[in-house]
């Protein structure tokens, strides 16, 4: 276990030393400040000279918050891919792995150590960025999304999915190749979610299945929908329910939380991917 923690600490130290966290946090603070200013301007909106009512302010705030959080979730996804894709392959290319793996450490400890270090990064960034944003909106508008902790859980899970996927690719592919593949699949999964929504809207079973399949193969969009649902006030859900099934294709909307079975699938998917990374790295010749 201790060797795992040595590698985890080393991974975290690398990210800190390379000033990735610093850059991320600095830009996040700028984004939070700018969006807080934007949110504070919502009450000054008016329709035909009449200021919009409080309920509408909250409705607009909830939708804008989903958009802002979408940006943060993308930053998180890209960062997870960027740091995970070279995490193992970079060590193999530089020869660091030769020096490290000749020590009394198993390949599994090495992989899990890297994963742990990166997971701490994902949890820390997601928590800090999302909490700051929600607190800022609460401060300027007095609006808090209905289930903030649940939202954070989904956001973190989405980051972990991409991080683990990037690590699997890193056992065999160079950082650049693995990163590009992970990002393309991430984009396709997002599109798949929209396509599936369109299928649902038009009652087309085959198209709907495409969406379901992508949600199962790379569960990022499925988890994102869970995050969106946690940000939706009851009023939004009621309004959307009245506007017909076509709304399901909207990538910033979720009509229902992901079923428990899906969450179990995501947990199994994560465990299987980490297992695959360990298996693949263990069989790799250094």
């Amino acid at each position: 276990m201790s060797a795992t923690l040595v590698i985890a600490r080393l991974m975290l130290r690398e990210v800190l030393r390379r000033r990735l966290i610093l850059a991320l946090l600095a830009l996040t603070l700028v984004a939070v400040a700018l969006t807080a200013w934007g949110f504070s301007r919502i009450p000054s909106l008016s329709q035909r000279g009449v200021p919009i009512p409080e309920t509408q302010v909250r409705l607009i705030a909830s939708q804008l918050l989903i958009l802002v959080m979408f940006m943060f979730s993308n930053v998180l996804a890209l960062s997870a891919v960027f740091v995970a894709s070279p995490a193992l392959s970079g060590d193999l290319e530089s020869g660091v792995a030769l020096a490290m793996l000749s020590r009394p450490i198993t390949r599994a400890q090495y992989v899990v150590g890297k994963w742990l270090g990166l997971a701490v990064l994902v949890v820390a960034y997601a928590s800090i960025a999302a909490t700051l944003e929600m607190l800022a909106v609460n401060a300027v508008l007095g609006y808090m999304p209905p289930r903030p902790a649940e939202f954070l859980g989904f956001l973190i899970a989405e980051g972990l999915v991409l991080l683990t996927f990037g690590l699997v690719l890193s056992t065999r592919l160079s950082g650049m190749v693995g990163g590009v593949i992970a990002l393309i699949l991430f984009g396709m999964a997002w599109l798949g979610g929209i396509v599936g929504g369109i299928g649902a809207a038009f009652d087309n079973e085959i198209i709907e299945r495409v969406g379901t399949a992508t949600k199962l193969i790379l569960p990022t969009d499925g988890l994102w929908r869970g995050a969106v649902y946690a940000l939706e006030p009851a009023a939004v859900l009621a309004a959307a329910a009245g506007s017909g099934p076509a709304f399901a294709a909207n990538p910033f909307y979720a009509a229902a939380p992901p079923p428990l079975a899906y969450l179990v699938w995501c947990a199994l998917w994560l465990a299987a991917m980490l297992g695959l990374a360990i298996w693949s790295f263990s069989r790799r010749e250094i």
Partner: protein
């Protein structure tokens, strides 16, 4: 498997159709300075990687400090007592040299209170004490190699495996490395030295194995390997004489070369030639060097 520091039996590694190592069998006693000598691409690094479990053998068996490769847990535990300097490597550039050594001290399970003292000791031995606080990214190749050497010496390992340890070093650095190896020998450590530098091996090693194309061509102590000397004689007459009792004779015009003859038998050879009617004009005894032996072995293939 016996209690040798390294023991291999028919250890082989093939990458598809390429044979990197073809049935390596050897035994290195504890406390020996063993030179693994061969041209580039001979399979030296492959052998080290197999022994350390970094690559998987296609066939054969090996043991490291008594722990067989096939017993993963025992082999991992044995690696605690092995220091390894890889040939081509870079340490984490964003760490300082001291931090790199700290990470390795932790990985081999050195007690925490010994870290500072031990990392300072190996840094001093390898000659990087003054730069221990600098980031590795600012190190020259030679300094990196010294850092690698320091890491390999951490925790006073029973077995130190050095893969081309002087490839990036200047003459002063090479001299330092030889001194370090001699120091290790004096302290009873076993050293496995991979090298293509004959002089380096000749100066420090007790025993050598000469490898090429994944095969051991010859192995043993220098006395065994360079068995017998060579003598060159200029003479006339006595063509076709049977001199096999003295060594391998080779006649080229007036020149007769006899290999594998011991120095004390040269007068007997001359007497025999005269008895057979030869007129001997000159006799030149020659000591075979490791380089001669190395080159003749490679040519014989």
């Amino acid at each position: 498997m016996t209690d040798a520091a390294i023991e291999t039996a028919d250890l082989a590694k093939r990458y598809g159709r390429l044979t990197a190592l073809a049935g390596l069998t050897m035994s290195i006693p504890r406390g020996d300075i063993f030179g693994f000598l061969g041209p580039n691409g001979a399979g030296k690094t492959t052998a080290v990687k197999l022994l350390l479990g970094l690559a998987r053998a296609t066939s054969g068996e090996a043991s490291l400090l008594g722990a067989p490769l096939s017993d993963a847990a025992a082999h991992r535990e044995a690696r605690r007592k092995v220091g390894y300097l890889p040939e081509l490597f870079r340490y984490q550039g964003w760490l300082t040299a001291r931090e790199v050594l700290g990470v390795h001290a932790e990985l081999i399970g050195l007690p925490k209170h010994e870290w500072d003292g031990e990392t300072a000791r190996v840094a001093a031995v390898a000659g990087i004490a003054e730069r221990a606080g600098d980031r590795v990214a600012t190190f020259s190749k030679g300094m990196q190699q010294r850092l690698g050497l320091a890491a390999a010496l951490l925790g006073r390992p029973e077995l130190v495996m050095l893969d081309e340890p002087t490839s990036a070093l200047d003459p002063v650095g090479r001299h330092d490395v030889r001194e370090i190896i001699r120091g290790l020998k004096a302290d009873g450590h076993t050293v496995f030295l991979n090298s293509h530098l004959l002089a380096e091996v000749e100066q420090v090693c007790d025993r050598v194995a000469i490898v090429d194309k994944g095969r051991v061509l010859a192995s043993g102590t220098f006395a065994e390997l360079l068995a017998g000397d060579t003598v060159r004689l200029r003479l006339t007459g006595c063509e076709g004489a049977d001199l096999s009792e003295f060594g391998t004779a080779d006649r080229e015009g007036e020149w007769l070369t006899v290999r594998g003859i011991s120095t004390e038998r040269i007068p007997d050879l001359v007497a025999e030639l005269i008895r057979l009617g030869a007129r001997v004009q000159s006799v030149q005894p020659m000591q075979e060097s490791l380089e001669d032996r190395f080159l003749s072995l490679l040519r014989e293939q």
